[in-house]
């Protein structure tokens, strides 16, 4: 999914670079609010986690495999701003130290993953939280659906960038259809993994799931004595 150098022309790369810079600046301010003085160590560790989680490949079919994007997952677990910041740092490290994703395409990659994937994932998650019953068990469901939507939305954003600055005369309609079809499929995998990971964190440490905090705040302390006495 990483866009390499030379995939988009120079003006598009520079324009997305400006967008990405603005997005990172906003994410930095937001993350400071979400994590206060813990920003550096916490965001660093979460970024390391996202990097590790992306190493797990799952089969998509036709012999190829996709990996977790982690946009919706990061947004639900640590909040949209910290999540966007973590993904941007992951992309920066991958580009500079692992040659994965082009240096001039860094702005494009950050725009696609930090802005579009995390943003879309978070918006869907928040929207679903308003619709679904206000219970802890609906958090993983909302997270999964957010993951499902975030992948094809990112693919569409990619096609839009390709239409603006692509380096090949390709009929856009079939590309859009192919990208959408393919990425809905990848999105299903992303949705399942996201929902399962979030549900396992909710089971063990619900307080660590940023998206569950509004629910926890309304919950009173419950003291169960009968079970202990028996």
């Amino acid at each position: 999914m990483h866009v390499p150098d030379g995939f988009l022309d120079a003006p598009t790369s520079i324009a997305t670079g400006v967008v990405a810079t603005a997005a990172v600046a906003v994410a930095l301010r937001g993350a400071r609010r979400e994590l206060d003085d813990r920003t550096a160590p916490m965001a660093g560790l979460v970024a390391a986690f996202v990097f590790a989680a992306q190493m797990i490949n799952f089969p998509v079919g036709a012999g190829t495999s996709g990996h977790l994007l982690g946009g919706a997952l990061a947004a639900v677990l640590v909040g949209p701003f910290t999540g966007a910041l973590c993904l941007a740092v992951v992309l920066l490290v991958q580009g500079l130290l692992f040659a994965d994703g082009g240096i001039t395409a860094l702005g494009t990659n950050i725009t696609l993953f930090s802005l579009v994937a995390v943003g879309a994932g978070w918006l869907v998650f928040r929207g679903l939280q308003l619709l679904l019953p206000r219970r802890l068990s609906s958090v993983p469901v909302a997270a999964g659906l957010a993951g499902l939507v975030s992948v094809p939305v990112t693919a569409v954003a990619f096609v839009a960038l390709f239409a603006a600055g692509g380096q090949a005369p390709v009929a856009l309609e079939p590309v859009l259809t192919a990208m959408l079809g393919w990425h809905v499929l990848i999105g299903v995998g992303e949705a399942l993994i996201t929902a399962l990971v979030v549900s396992s964190v909710v089971a063990a440490r619900p307080d660590l799931v940023h998206g569950a905090r509004p629910l926890l705040a309304t919950r009173g302390l419950e003291i169960r004595t009968a079970g202990v006495a028996a």
Binding site: G6, R38, A47, A53, L92, V93, L97, Q167, V197, A204
Partner: protein
């Protein structure tokens, strides 16, 4: 950190390229790739020139060419895309070995391969000749926001720890008959990832407390 110092792409050496200031190297890489991306695709001699420049830099750095070529595998996914290009692009067609290929598509495939490969090769050269700490110092000199550099520093410092933890977890799961690739075992895999997240988060909290107790105020001393 059993993996030792440096990162997986670094190639230890003492060449002039290794010793160059990291912020100069990052700027040079960015400038080089931008020029490559902006070069019209049918200026074929220019691409030979770019490759020659890169070849000279690699020769000075003393990094074996095979070492870099082996690591070009990161570009395979988009090589596949480039190879598809002549089949899906529009425009006048040409017959090659009985296949109808699009002429602009062929040109686009060439441009993708040439620009992408030059970009990856240049990035690999930076990664092979620059320690992660130096990359961070370089970014700091280039006025990258301090907080981003700090987050990157923590990420790089704990990358091997966290990935090592995940590797041990998946090894343990495999030895119990789990196949991480099979969707049937995704629940187990997701629980492992959930546990990995909690461990990473709690490690971050412990690190933060340890730093506070040593006088950390939210900024790193310069």
């Amino acid at each position: 950190m059993g993996a030792g110092h440096g990162h997986r792409l670094h190639y230890h050496g003492h060449s002039r390229i290794h010793r160059a200031e990291p912020h100069h190297k990052i700027l040079a890489l960015l400038g080089f790739v931008l020029v490559v991306v902006a070069t019209p695709r049918d200026w074929f001699p220019a691409y030979a020139g770019f490759l020659a420049v890169l070849g000279v830099v690699i020769a000075i750095s003393g990094v074996p060419v095979g070492y870099l070529l082996k690591r070009l595998v990161v570009e395979i996914p988009f090589v596949v895309f480039a190879l598809l290009m002549p089949f899906i692009a529009l425009g006048p067609t040409v017959e090659v070995l009985g296949m109808t290929l699009s002429k602009p598509g062929l040109l686009a495939a060439w441009a993708l391969l040439a620009k992408g490969t030059l970009g990856v090769l240049a990035s690999l050269t930076l990664a092979a000749t620059t320690e992660p700490d130096d990359v961070l110092r370089g970014l700091q000199r280039l006025r990258m926001p301090e907080l981003v550099v700090q987050i990157m520093g923590f990420m790089i410092r704990y990358l091997d720890v966290v990935t090592g933890e995940l590797r041990r977890m998946t090894t343990a799961m495999r030895s119990r008959g789990c196949d991480p690739r099979s969707p049937r075992h995704w629940p187990a895999l997701a629980k492992a990832l959930g546990a990995l997240f909690i461990r990473s988060y709690e490690r971050g909290e412990r690190i933060h407390l340890a730093m506070l107790s040593r006088g950390y105020t939210g900024r790193l001393p310069s």
